[in-house]
């Protein structure tokens, strides 16, 4: 962990989390500390419990053992400070782009003028101007996830939980979205937990990478990414630390999936 990260107060603390589904132990004794303003990537093979861990961090499910704290308070249901971006976008097909973005604020009963303002701001931010009245089925995958991101950002969350947000868009759009996320995050510096399958994506985005293994889901290793910001995709790929880190994580993931054991 870098010195600056350590100096910041912890935002999210997960302590000894275990979760069972029937006889299947999905998470085993996961302990994780995420600092204020830190960008953390969760990286691991399919089925290692990344989504389950995210749900636990958001209070959507409760762990069988251990606990999650946000700003020192125990999490038992989805907290106001957090917002989730979902892998399958999670847009309501019966709501337009604006209505989808407005939805969490409508639930929070914000005054309509304030909602309008924030919706406009968030839609501009993700480059969807002109599509306010469109229904999601008229948008491409990349545009849909922009809506998902706008919906989360409009709330002004302190903690952004992103579950493989770019997994179902094409490679080109994916890099475009990574670049935009980088530039947005470098302006606002929310605390981010970002789940991904992709080592490249993790190195590009994260301050720290938490590598998990499957059966049961456990934290295998935590890496610092010693690449300075602001970053671009190109600057990350050119960085001398990029290749060695990539190789190390790759080896980890092979070990974690049991192929070298």
């Amino acid at each position: 962990m870098t010195a600056t990260a350590q100096a910041r107060p912890p935002k999210v603390v997960a302590t000894g989390i275990s979760k069972w589904y029937g006889a299947l132990e999905v998470l085993h004794n996961v302990t994780l500390e995420i600092h204020q303003g830190e960008f953390v990537c969760l990286l691991g093979p399919s089925g290692c419990g990344k989504t389950t861990l995210m749900r636990t961090l958001d209070g959507l499910i409760l762990p069988d053992e251990g606990s999650v704290q946000l700003d020192g308070a125990l999490i038992t249901s989805p907290p106001r400070q957090a917002a989730v971006v979902f892998q399958q976008f999670g847009l309501f097909p019966w709501k337009t782009v604006s209505q989808n973005v407005a939805f969490p604020m409508v639930l929070d009963r914000l005054p309509p003028t304030q909602i309008d303002e924030k919706v406009k701001w968030a839609i501009d931010l993700v480059g969807l101007k002109g599509f306010e009245a469109a229904y999601p089925d008229r948008l491409s995958g990349g545009m849909r996830q922009r809506v998902g991101i706008a919906r989360a950002l409009a709330l002004g969350p302190e903690l952004l939980l992103m579950d493989e947000p770019f997994a179902s868009v094409d490679a080109y759009t994916r890099e475009l979205l990574q670049a935009e996320l980088l530039s947005i995050w470098e302006r606002f510096r929310q605390t981010v937990v970002f789940v991904t399958h992709s080592i490249d994506e993790a190195i590009t985005l994260a301050d720290r990478i938490v590598v998990m293994k499957a059966k049961p889901g456990e934290v295998l290793h935590i890496y610092d990414v010693p690449i300075e910001r602001p970053r671009t995709i190109a600057s990350v790929r050119r960085h001398p630390a990029y290749e060695p880190l990539r190789a190390k994580i790759w080896e980890d993931m092979l070990t974690g999936s049991g192929r070298e054991m």
Partner: protein
């Protein structure tokens, strides 16, 4: 925002052009379909006319004769009053059947205990030919308006119940999770997730209910007290007035198409996200 980059202007211009082109293509497609419909209409009516002219009046009548008889029946005969009566009964049955069907479907879909208690009877009655129940209904409720309304409602009830039940069962669990993660309470869940996802199913169910309700309307008018359009149909059949029969049938057909078109309009209003006409 300072996110503005020089690219974004050209990008949005491009998007507008793409949208515009798409709209034009859709318009073209609609025009082509309209043309096909008109042509098909001309062909079918032409065949009807030719066949009718070459067949004795007892068996079949040319289209022009049917229209003439329709006019006679409407202006000088009993058809106008019969339509008013039948359509009122039909609409009454449609409303009752739809409301009960929606409530039943929602309750069965949302509350497992209720489904366990009631589901089997619903399926049992659904599997019984409703016509077979008419003597029983007449026995209990007589031959009047009450019995007719009950019969029509029963025809409407089942397609609506089944469709709504399926709709409630198919509410996307990932969307309820989204709502939960944004701290929706039960009320908000119904308002923003469950009801909107069931609306298209309701419309589909009611649309099927329209078709079944028209069947129920005729059956109730023929099998209970002879009345309405059923009566006009039966009289013209008994006196071998084939053109009159065809005129009544044409009227029902037009009514059926009209009501389904109304429902389709309603779908577009209630569920504009649910596109059926533009090919996905």
């Amino acid at each position: 925002m300072d996110m503005q980059n020089p690219l974004s202007d050209t990008r949005s211009a491009l998007r507008e052009r793409v949208l515009e082109r798409r709209q034009r293509a859709a318009q073209k497609r609609r025009n082509r379909f309209l043309l096909i419909r008109v042509l098909s209409f001309v062909v079918v009516l032409g065949a009807w006319q030719i066949y009718g002219l070459n067949t004795i009046d007892l068996i079949f009548s040319p289209f022009t004769d049917v229209i003439a008889h329709l006019y006679q029946l409407l202006v000088y005969g009993p058809l106008a009053a019969a339509i008013v009566y039948s359509v009122s009964m039909f609409l009454g049955g449609l409303v009752i059947g739809s409301i009960v069907g929606i409530l039943l479907g929602v309750a069965m879909g949302r509350f497992a205990g209720f489904e366990a208690a009631v589901g089997m009877y619903v399926y049992a009655i659904y599997s019984t030919p409703l016509v077979a129940l008419i003597p029983l209904i007449s026995l209990w409720f007589g031959f009047g308006i009450e019995a007719q309304l009950i019969i029509i409602s029963m025809f409407v009830l089942f397609p609506v119940t089944i469709a709504v039940y399926n709709g409630v069962r198919n509410v996307d669990a990932s969307l309820t999770e989204v709502a939960r993660s944004f701290r929706a309470n039960e009320m908000a869940m119904w308002r923003h997730v469950i009801i909107p996802s069931v609306v298209p199913y309701i419309v589909t169910g009611v649309s099927q209910g329209v078709a079944m309700g028209l069947v129920g309307m005729f059956i109730s008018e023929i099998y209970t007290a002879l009345s309405g359009m059923g009566q006009v149909l039966a009289y013209s059949a008994n006196s071998y007035k084939t053109a009159d029969m065809l005129a009544v049938l044409l009227t029902v057909m037009v009514l059926g198409v009209f009501f389904r078109a109304v429902i389709e309009k309603l779908r577009k209003r209630l569920a504009p996200w649910f596109n059926t006409d533009t090919g996905r």
